[in-house]
Symmetry: D2
Subunit: 201 residues, 4 copies
Amino acid sequence: MYIGRFVIVGRTPQGQRFLAYRVSSRSFPNRRIVLSADRATVQPTADAPSTDNPYITYNCLRQHADTVVVANGSHADPIIEKVAAGYPLRDALALTLLALDYEHDSLSTPRIAAAWGGDVAWLAIVTAHGLLVSSMQPEPGTAALVATYELTSPTPVLLRAEDPGALARETYYLAYEHPVAALASVLKGSPMSATCGPSLD
Amino acid sequence: MYIGRFVIVGRTPQGQRFLAYRVSSRSFPNRRIVLSADRATVQPTADAPSTDNPYITYNCLRQHADTVVVANGSHADPIIEKVAAGYPLRDALALTLLALDYEHDSLSTPRIAAAWGGDVAWLAIVTAHGLLVSSMQPEPGTAALVATYELTSPTPVLLRAEDPGALARETYYLAYEHPVAALASVLKGSPMSATCGPSLD
Amino acid sequence: MYIGRFVIVGRTPQGQRFLAYRVSSRSFPNRRIVLSADRATVQPTADAPSTDNPYITYNCLRQHADTVVVANGSHADPIIEKVAAGYPLRDALALTLLALDYEHDSLSTPRIAAAWGGDVAWLAIVTAHGLLVSSMQPEPGTAALVATYELTSPTPVLLRAEDPGALARETYYLAYEHPVAALASVLKGSPMSATCGPSLD
Amino acid sequence: MYIGRFVIVGRTPQGQRFLAYRVSSRSFPNRRIVLSADRATVQPTADAPSTDNPYITYNCLRQHADTVVVANGSHADPIIEKVAAGYPLRDALALTLLALDYEHDSLSTPRIAAAWGGDVAWLAIVTAHGLLVSSMQPEPGTAALVATYELTSPTPVLLRAEDPGALARETYYLAYEHPVAALASVLKGSPMSATCGPSLD
């Protein structure tokens, strides 16, 4: 099954908060995720063909204080900027997804996001048919996924690793078609430090 | 079970589009629903004790062209005004619920709404924990309910009547506690005429 | 000149921060402003004729911590609730005015607001023709007014009093037609205490 | 004087509706504007040094039916998409600028936009200190400018040309520092055809 890009939020078996994001793509496979201190960026690889598609390059993870968000497009930036300005995560997710809306490509591809704000987990998606921003309290060893196609409602997913590198690998190898790159982040302390797993490509 | 106020959207067994709304209340039972051409209003009855509670009196149904919306508070007005201005129903529901938010009473009571926009049905709810705006295509003889307490996600509900008066009665007598008044509206044609059932009190 | 309801934000000659609000009305003169701890409310007087106009009764002043807002309608509530949730005042004013919009009466009467958030003053107005949310730093002895008609852009206004009672009287007797009631609030400390002047009617 | 990027909306001496946009830059001079059917795009030139600055490449003009908008960043896209969805221009401008906010660079550079929606002209700007969305009705031979620095309120500007190429040149050579590229668009008919002047670089 091809479910496109997807975000995951959950707790590891030992109860650590984590986020994951996978780029899946039929059209633009030549991409990788570059990690830096408070963000991760999806970029074309050196050998990627040139494109003017505005949905290719974007920050897919942003952190501010005790909030970390992963997203499938440029909305990660205004979401975290609104949190930095004082918005509750619920409002930052809802306003940004309402304003930027689904991608205006031929599939009306949804915008999706997952986040931790302190001890509260969030999933969000905007499609042509609705808007969902939902908080949850994942038990240790449980996680939920939202994808751009097929699995557009929160869906349980099983990951077993504790460290970000292994979580990124598990995410990359989940049995959904056309993996391109994967990222995982384990959150420690408050304000959080987001340890990100090596992007795989 | 006490589920508070609730909205319903669905199709009758013969496939007619309908909406229903029930006022349920432990605190302010002395209320009725008054019908007029393009709206219905929840009001205190003549014998109701005086109150300065801002959530007692409001338009619970508004119509504009081929859109009809029912709601548990004053948000019915800005929702229909934004639709009249050209907003898609999805955006009118999302922006209004995001801005007005849940009621700031001791229970953080959610704001809820149900609507038909042409042939598309909608349910919406904002709580302290999330925001949902969701379209649906109910089959004949099926309907879904969203309530302020307990049943805060779309929940199937069975109503059998075809005409608004009987639908209002069925809604009033659904087995949830503390009914106060009920309204049903059957939508015909496009732009719709909303035939509203007698409010029950 | 009839300029309708208006809000004022400024500093007294001695530099104290203040807000004022005047109800002016050709249609509903039988109203007064009732003061309580963290709010002020426009209400019909005991002898007012009954009406179902939804724009008659509303909180015209709300306070939360070091923010105080005055407004010409029910938008004072969601503005202060969004500030309490963490929004910057700019965003609370803009989102609320965008969502609730001008009053849908025969004149498309604008919604207006004035506020202090800490040491920053704000004026805001939404009309059919635009939206303005603007911060300012009034010098001692200066103030600006925004009204629902004619003076719909920030306009200098001269008030001389230092205490809320005298400021409310000055506001009531400004040479604009059809005064109904006036309120002034002088803000002290941080978080602010809002000392409100006697409503005049 | 350096006023950064700026947008212009007005009517030519003969009364034609036009829009103009100039890229001015101290940091990224190697850019040009590429024209296509319903949009214009700011892009790095072939010899530009590589950068990961997210504010370098964007659609600076978008058209949908009888609406044309110019903007200094990626907000042109959601603005025109919301208009295409049915939003009034006022609401599309306000929601998008509120959500995307000023650029989070070291100068908190404002987002600005100018537009024609039918026969109504619009200017909009969001800064750290406020949000303005304002309609206007320019007389023949008059125009107004909003810039990212210094001239952040609508400011009259004199342009004399009638055709887009000459208007783009006039815009490029306005006496503000560091011009990089300029675009002008003259709107004809309804739905409009936007004839864009040659970008200058």
